[in-house]
Symmetry: C2
């Protein structure tokens, strides 16, 4: 499996010089073909924005489509957005229906509309219909390319037709055939295996699995995850409200959507509101990061105003200033662990948004133990430094109590946010650190006030 | 798809009272059967540890196995560990080979060994053989249950055999047949679709796809991701160094492993060294969280010692103390965004561990813009509060410079850690915040020293 690795710089330079040279488009295409998907994506992303667009326009639509599917959606959409709408429409025409819709949904609405107008009426109609589904619903995750047969056909007819259409169906990865009545309503599913095992003159009605399980086109990702949890199927047919077969959702598409969502959680918890790749233009990247940072700095300054309010206390016991960032940071760490456990249990379905009492009890007990341990450590450090047991007691007790607060807040905030329909990955961190900073600073000064003459 | 939801408390109580009552085991089993996988997992995880074990021993091995696969691995392994080894072996016997190995690998080594000794020699041998593979290698991700035929057979023979063995193969989800020579070496792959389209007297050698692409049992997850990136296959056969067919890796298993890894990244970045569920015993949970927190608090105290060193400067300009936690926290936030982008680009293959210069340039430019913006905000806040332009200039400039340092360090540290074979998800955060705290505190005091009489 291992192949000799070219250094990425070499790949980038080779691609750049190919583009600048008079090399014909076939040569460019062949060069890209020889790279793995990730090498091609990396090489292309290292080109500057205009060179990337020039590259796309030099390839034929089908070659360009081949490249586009290998890029991340966010990058591919950015590139299409920069192209002439009719060129973008031609490239999209080459993609399967579901991928086309995914890319269109990443584009600004006005660009998507302009490109749709350049498409053939059929492509545009299908794209609009699929695009109307929420991207994380069964309709948004399904593929619309199916092989269907009428209920009256015989096994022999079907086998003959499959042989005849071999080339048409080659790209379909057919594993199941779908049997429909004259209203396009699904009446059965016929796995290829069963077809093989049946005699030629059997009617498909008899060989098929009748009344198969289906999902509704409006079903959510959670419902699909639950479905594939209960049933170890590779795929499930999707019907609309009238029972008409509209597509098939593969377990793999559901897994991928779940995967994307947890990738998203990590990204958002780190403060990236929208996806960022380093190949994007500088100002866009900077803006995407700042949107979250500027909310955060305001919250930070609000929390810091607690210190400002106690400035006189601080002046009398300047040693406290050393421990304020430690308490702020450690409470944040402890609380974020609880956030991560809640996010994970929410996504596994092990905790529900209304179970705040359960989370409270579970977190409070961890908080007591870890609060005592961390408090003792910071108290010990303070005592070793200044030889003052009162200083140790103040900062140790403040951290201990604040750890308990932090894990409880951290555990519960994701449940509350999710209950309100807000995105816990994005907001839980800032809310947590603001609350724990305010409480932590306040605790230090409140405890210090009582023994100020001994600090 | 939506079914009436019982509140989780009800489910838990119903299960508890079933267990305490004299209900026979079938009733317990039927109760669990009616729940979805996640409902069952949640209800079981709410029982206390001993009740969970009692539940497992009351079910037949195959019923228990059915429940075990629905739980998270970490929870299932914990339960098996508490059971009598022979009971655990009986339950494991009911699981497919790959799931059995996954669970054994989650157990402490000594428990796994005791359970292996209770297994049948064949089960134990297969488990040891599969267990020897790294869990993220092709050998660790493959399934060993395959349908193979000798190269000499005809399509008619194969179809007849498939019909005869229908019940045996029912659980195999057969889509491809594997054609081997007399040394068990793989010579071809025969998709069911091709079998259907071939005439009965054709030899499988002619119908099959000869010399199919394969992966080696030692190939890594990265190599498999790259393989399925290049080739849109549902599965790929796995061979050992001698070319013998040993299993099949499904694209789905690779996706799931990739998914688990990114779930892991989020968890680790939040400071959970090992997976935690709230159903685990309190002390275990507390210990798992503390292992990371106690390293972190030491690093925090080291960073805070910079403040201690400048205590006298601080006493002369106490207002600086208000901004120290702001600068510490905001630099951490900016740096963590860069960490998340690097982690994502590493996992997408868009950046390699040796491309520090590329990341440096890309991050430094974002850092300059965002540093100026954030510095201006904190400078403005300081000026508004105290009306002192020098205070504003000191804290604003410190945050601006430290933001640039933070994004560069945050962007590069994951590359360096990965290059050294360390886990970036776990270590990048603590390293980043320690470096940025030290630099940030130092910058504040160094800049302040120059204008101390004006603060």
């Amino acid at each position: 499996m291992t192949e000799p690795e070219e250094s990425p710089q070499d790949t980038e330079e080779a691609l750049n010089s190919l583009l600048e040279s008079e090399a014909d488009n076939d040569q460019v295409d062949q060069f890209l073909d020889e790279l793995s998907a990730s090498d091609a994506a990396r090489a292309v992303s290292r080109l500057d924005w205009e060179a990337q667009e020039r590259l796309l326009t030099r390839l034929s639509p089908s070659q360009a489509a081949h490249l586009v599917v290998e890029l991340c959606e966010v990058q591919a959409a950015g590139l299409l957005d920069g192209l002439d709408p009719s060129a973008a429409a031609e490239i999209l025409h080459e993609l399967p229906g579901d991928e086309r819709v995914d890319l269109l949904s990443e584009l600004p609405e006005s660009s998507a509309e302009t490109i749709l107008e350049e498409m053939s009426p059929e492509d545009a109609e299908l794209s609009r219909r699929l695009g109307a589904y929420d991207s994380d619903s069964a309709g948004g995750l399904m593929i619309a390319e199916l092989v269907t047969y009428p209920a009256g056909a015989t096994v022999g007819d079907v086998v003959k037709d499959l042989r005849r259409q071999a080339t048409v169906y080659r790209d379909y990865q057919v594993q199941y055939l779908y049997i429909v009545d004259d209203q396009s309503r699904l009446v059965g599913v016929l796995p290829l295996r069963r077809l093989l095992q049946a005699e030629d003159d059997t009617q498909v009605d008899e060989a098929m699995i009748p009344d198969p399980l289906t999902v509704l086109d409006q079903d959510t990702l959670e419902e699909l995850i639950d479905f594939f949890d209960r049933h170890h199927f590779l795929a499930v047919p999707v019907v609309d409200a009238d029972g008409r077969l509209v597509g098939v959702v593969h377990n793999e598409a559901v897994n991928e959507a779940e995967h994307d969502r947890s990738d998203d959680d990590y990204r958002k918890a780190s403060g990236l509101v929208r996806e960022e790749l380093r190949s994007m233009p500088l100002l866009l990247r900077s803006r995407r990061r700042l949107s979250w940072l500027s909310v955060n700095i305001v919250l930070n300054i609000v929390a810091a105003s607690v210190i400002a309010a106690y400035q006189e206390t601080l002046a009398e016991a300047i040693a406290l200033a050393v421990f304020l960032p430690v308490i702020s940071d450690m409470s944040g760490c402890s609380g974020n662990q609880a956030v991560a456990v809640s996010m994970r249990e929410l996504s596994l379905g092990l905790v529900r948004t209304n179970e705040k009492r359960y989370v409270f009890i579970k977190e409070a007990s961890v908080g007591v133990i870890n609060g005592i341990m961390l408090g003792a450590m910071v108290a010990g450090a303070a005592y070793l430094w200044k030889g003052n047991p009162y200083l140790g007691a103040v900062v140790g007790l403040a951290l201990a109590i604040n750890t308990i607060i932090a894990v409880i807040v951290g555990g519960i905030v994701p449940l509350v946010l999710k209950h309100w329909g807000k995105d816990p990955a994005l907001a839980a961190g800032p809310i947590l650190t603001t609350v724990t900073d305010i409480c932590g600073f306040f605790l230090v000064f409140a405890l210090a006030s009582g023994v100020l003459d001994r600090l």
